[in-house]
């Protein structure tokens, strides 16, 4: 018998491929609900974090983007949350931002995912950086390296100017998208 005939080579690889694919199909079926639940849970937590006292959240699609409208216990709309992403220093950064489109004011921001350097860029997740945007108006922000003296200034994290800049740009972009969907006053 010819041991290394082409037929045998093809058959071997095909068999391994089919078995692998079969196994992974089961693993995929098994893990997908958990993965989706994790993502939904992370998103829910982020929305709760960026919209104060939110009781109910409704998904609304506008201009091809998905917005999360938050309502309080009395059914009053308190604000809109929007998830935006963009490039950071090492990879994509995903930020949830909660705003009040009525008064063009940011409530809070929350970083969902990032791959920034631990100890440096990763500090965009800490409240010291996030507080730069709390209760601030819509508009363009300047990243500065000294303690901010004006309202539209954001203090960069020491040693992580690029991460700070990226996060700020993602937030500005999100504000623009919210503005065009909800027709703010600016």
């Amino acid at each position: 018998m010819e041991k290394n005939s082409t037929k045998k080579l093809v058959l071997t690889l095909a068999t391994i491929g089919i078995i692998s694919a079969l196994l992974l199909t089961f693993v995929y079926e098994w893990t997908t609900p958990y993965i989706q639940a994790n993502q939904a849970e992370a998103r829910k937590q982020a929305i709760n974090e960026v919209l104060p006292d939110v009781a109910e959240v409704e998904e609304v699609e506008k201009n091809g983007n998905i917005f999360y409208e938050g309502y309080d216990a009395q059914g009053e709309q308190i604000g809109v949350a929007f998830q935006n992403s963009g490039g950071g220093y090492n990879g994509a950064i995903e930020i949830m931002i909660g705003v009040d489109p009525e008064s063009d004011k940011i409530y809070k921001i929350s970083v969902l995912n990032h791959q920034e350097t631990p100890g440096l860029g990763a500090r965009i997740t800490e409240s010291e950086f996030k507080s730069n945007f709390e209760d601030k108006p819509f508009g363009d922000y300047n990243v500065v390296k000294t303690p901010p003296s004006e309202e539209m200034q954001v203090q960069a994290i020491a040693g992580a100017t690029i991460s700070s800049e990226s996060a700020t740009r993602i937030i500005e972009d999100a504000l623009e998208k919210i503005n065009s969907a909800y027709g703010g006053g600016n």
Partner: protein
């Protein structure tokens, strides 16, 4: 095929020190340098790689006679990739925190030359029990060095260990240690120390 217990123990010990993948064979450098910026990342990466290594060694040592020599490398890669994808899904589903911090480096385990290297050098030539011993030994050898690297880098770079802050406000973190350059410096010093220790042992 008789089971030689002594042989199995020596196969297992081999990976821990004498042929430690990182400090002796110097293979699998990509994850070693890239994800050891914190202790937890180093440990998680080591365990994920160990799992893939052990499972692939088991499967390949079992079916080694069925695989024609000409297609053995693609066959190994297919088997390794299957276990890596499994690990990727598994971590994302049950350990989302670890999956997020290791991100792209989990799928990249496929191309870790430690894993392919052990299939070619060991699993394809030895019995399954010996392959299991080799997989566990090599896996643990890889894990302890990765964890140690992560601990050293996190300690100097952030003043903490496994996320627990050890040094107070007075400590000014050596930022370079959590950056890629810190990985090269730490690994170089570590390999030097290990070489010295094993030389003195002779």
């Amino acid at each position: 095929m008789s089971l030689d217990f002594k042989q199995i123990v020596s196969d297992f010990k081999n990976g821990l020190w004498a042929e430690n993948p990182i400090i002796r064979l110097v293979i699998g450098m990509c994850p070693t340098l890239a994800v050891t910026n914190t202790s937890a990342n180093g440990l998680a990466m080591g365990l994920a790689t160990s799992f893939v290594l052990i499972m692939s060694e088991i499967v390949i040592s079992l079916i080694k006679k069925l695989i024609p020599a000409n297609v053995r490398i693609p066959s190994y890669i297919l088997i390794i990739a299957t276990f890596v994808t499994f690990t990727d899904y598994f971590l994302k589903a049950f350990f989302p925190g670890i999956a997020a911090s290791l991100s792209i480096f989990i799928p990249l385990i496929v191309v870790n030359c430690l894993i392919l290297g052990r299939q070619e050098a060991f699993a394809s030539k030895h019995s399954t029990p010996r392959a299991i011993a080799d997989g566990i030994g090599m896996g643990l050898g890889f894990t302890w060095v990765l964890t140690l690297l992560g601990m050293i880098r996190e300690f100097f770079g952030m003043g903490s260990m496994f996320g627990v802050q050890l040094l107070g406000e007075w400590y000014r973190p050596m930022v370079i240690m959590v950056l890629p350059a810190g990985a090269f410096i730490t690994l170089g010093i570590l390999v030097g120390i290990m070489n010295q220790i094993s030389r003195e042992g002779k």
